[in-house]
């Protein structure tokens, strides 16, 4: 089976999730005797592109155009579909990131392909690919089969392993895809990145505060803990609605879906809509003074006590451990 892995880059840096996509493509290719082509799109292709060979790409295709310095859904979709056709790809893998989710449905339509969105597990059975994806905000899982000849899958970030490199490099082939002005009907004009801030959707550890934090100033203790372990700070909807934290930090059904390796829920009760966004985290720690708070039902480890005592003590203890 030929697999096309679409590699997301922003500012000439290949995103971590892109390695997950290439490594997953490799694993599917190994099971089906297939081959992986990686596709990188931009005005200048990052030098790291050749290293994608080490993650399992036997070939890297680069499509370059000055106008591709900024993301455009229509142009990206056109390029992805043309390369998929040219490469006879049976499967197109894309990260389910803000960018990937934005153009993957277009690629599916162009290729007459079914779309499996936000997939969290993949299995090959009798040569057929089975995808598992969370539905009802993670309250249920569905196993699906894409029945069209070509299949487009988006992979939930942080779920699939990025794999290890084997030192191989792949040849980077620059392919020309003719693009007209009309292919750039929508285009990104500016990007405002909150400076140096780690996004909850990309973080490997998240420390989230809820209403029990009592006020915006008290998030400082969470930020200190987060700073010590390289975590992002998340918030429950109650904390966001109170105006203590920006909406982009909200975790849950109407916020972000996250799956870090460690999720620390501080003074969060564990409402079903909150659980929806974080229950696929690998380890969950709950700190809550109410022993009956539902969050303890989902937690691996819990401490029933006042967050204002526990959190600073955790920061100190971890600093000790890390020798800081």
């Amino acid at each position: 089976m030929k697999i096309l892995a679409i590699v997301e880059q922003r500012d000439y840096k290949i995103k971590k999730n892109a390695y997950e996509v290439v490594a997953t493509a490799r694993s599917l290719a190994q099971q089906t005797n297939g081959e992986v082509t990686a596709l990188v799109i931009g005005d200048n292709i990052p030098s790291a592109a050749a290293e994608l060979g080490a993650y399992g790409a036997s070939k890297v295709i680069a499509v370059q155009h000055p106008k591709l310095a900024k993301y455009s859904a229509t142009a990206y979709a056109k390029i992805a579909a043309e390369i998929a056709t040219k490469e006879h790809a049976a499967i197109v893998l894309i990260s389910a990131t803000a960018m990937g989710k934005d153009f993957a449905p277009r690629v599916a339509v162009k290729l007459d392909a079914g779309l499996a969105a936000d997939v969290t597990a993949l299995k090959i059975e009798n040569g057929e690919i089975n995808a598992t994806r969370p539905v009802y905000a993670g309250k249920a899982l569905t196993d699906i089969k894409v029945t069209s000849a070509v299949k487009v899958l988006t992979l939930r970030p942080n779920v699939f392993p990025a794999g290890t490199t084997n030192g191989a490099t792949a040849a980077v082939e620059v392919v020309d895809v003719p693009l007209a002005d009309s292919d750039f009907a929508s285009i990104v004009t500016t990007t405002s990145q909150a400076s140096g801030k780690l996004d909850v959707a990309e973080a490997d550890i998240i420390v989230t505060g809820g209403r029990g934090m009592k006020g915006p100033e008290n998030f400082k203790i969470l930020e200190e803990l987060a700073g010590t372990i390289g975590a992002a700070v998340g918030a429950s909807r109650a904390a966001v609605d109170a105006g203590w934290r920006p909406h982009e930090d909200q975790v849950g059904q109407t916020g972000k879906t996250v799956s870090p390796s460690l999720y620390v829920a501080v003074a969060v009760s564990g409402a079903i809509q909150h659980l929806a966004g974080m229950s696929s985290s690998k380890y969950i720690v709950a700190i809550n003074k109410d022993k009956d708070a539902p969050i303890f039902q989902s937690a691996d480890y819990g401490i029933v006590a006042d967050a204002f005592e526990i959190v600073p003590a955790m920061t100190q203890e971890i600093k000790k451990l890390l020798g800081k």
Partner: protein, 248 residues
């Protein structure tokens, strides 16, 4: 300005989800259905666009008779016309998009709004597929929209920030929470919505490209270990995270 908004009718986010007897869909007993929360932001934005620029807002839903409830809510909020593309059998996102695109082609609106995603299937696909089928630009998961002189600038959420996207019109937008605060329908609006006509049409047929094999509950975690009830538990918690879970 002609504006269209596509809205879905979904289980309330607080609903407990149980697997139905077919093993492929939910057990609907006792489940309350509501307007898809993201579609409320979409309706609100359309109403504001109309209030500013004049024109009309048409709400469209594809589904069974149940979807009329959601269309009535749209009427109560203030849309001018509601259309049900009536189909009792479930469809995948492509075939929903296909039928909506088919209807929208006729209607030919300048702005088409969707929610970011339905909170049942969580595909986040239909709006963007409609845009592709109609050969229109789209901006998804937007939190801000400015429309002027035949073009629009929308802001969308990305990891760690926002990006501003400029697009020509007509265009498709999908609404993220934060775009606006949806209004509550007035009592008068609710009363009037009861007598308004919901136009029924047969949706264009399209075959599904995705087959559901099974719906299941995630294997529930056993409630974890309460490490302690005061600050003396902290060293043990940190040890467990370091040695057992190996996450720090």
């Amino acid at each position: 300005m002609k504006i269209a908004v596509c809205i879905n009718h979904v289980p309330d986010t607080a609903a407990r989800i149980a697997v139905g007897s077919d093993g492929k869909s939910i057990d609907k007993t006792g489940v309350t259905f509501v307007v898809n929360p993201y579609d409320e932001f979409a309706i609100e934005e359309c109403l504001r666009l109309k209030e500013k620029n004049g024109g009309e807002v048409v709400a469209i839903s594809l589904g069974g008779d149940m979807h009329k409830e959601t269309l009535r809510k749209a009427y109560a909020m203030g849309v001018d016309k509601a259309v049900l593309l009536k189909d009792e059998t479930p469809r995948d996102s492509f075939s929903v998009a296909y039928a909506l695109a088919n209807y929208l082609k006729e209607l030919n609106p300048e702005i088409i709004f969707f929610g970011k995603q339905s909170v049942d299937g969580d595909d986040a696909a239909v709006g963007i597929m409609v845009a592709e089928l109609l050969n229109l630009p789209s901006v998804s998961t937007i939190v801000k929209l400015d429309v002027a002189q035949g073009k629009a600038i929308a802001e969308r959420e990305i990891e760690g920030g926002l990006e501003a996207v400029e697009t020509t019109l007509p265009a498709v937008f999908t609404a993220q929470k934060g775009l606006n605060e949806p209004r509550y329908p007035s009592l008068k609006g609710i009363m009037q919505s009861k007598n308004k006509l919901i136009e029924e049409k047969a949706p264009a047929a399209a075959s599904s490209k995705v087959e559901v094999v099974a719906l299941r509950k995630p294997s529930s975690k056993n409630a974890g270990k309460i490490v302690g009830t005061d600050v003396s538990a902290v060293p043990e918690l940190v040890r467990l995270l370091h040695e057992e879970a190996k996450v720090i």
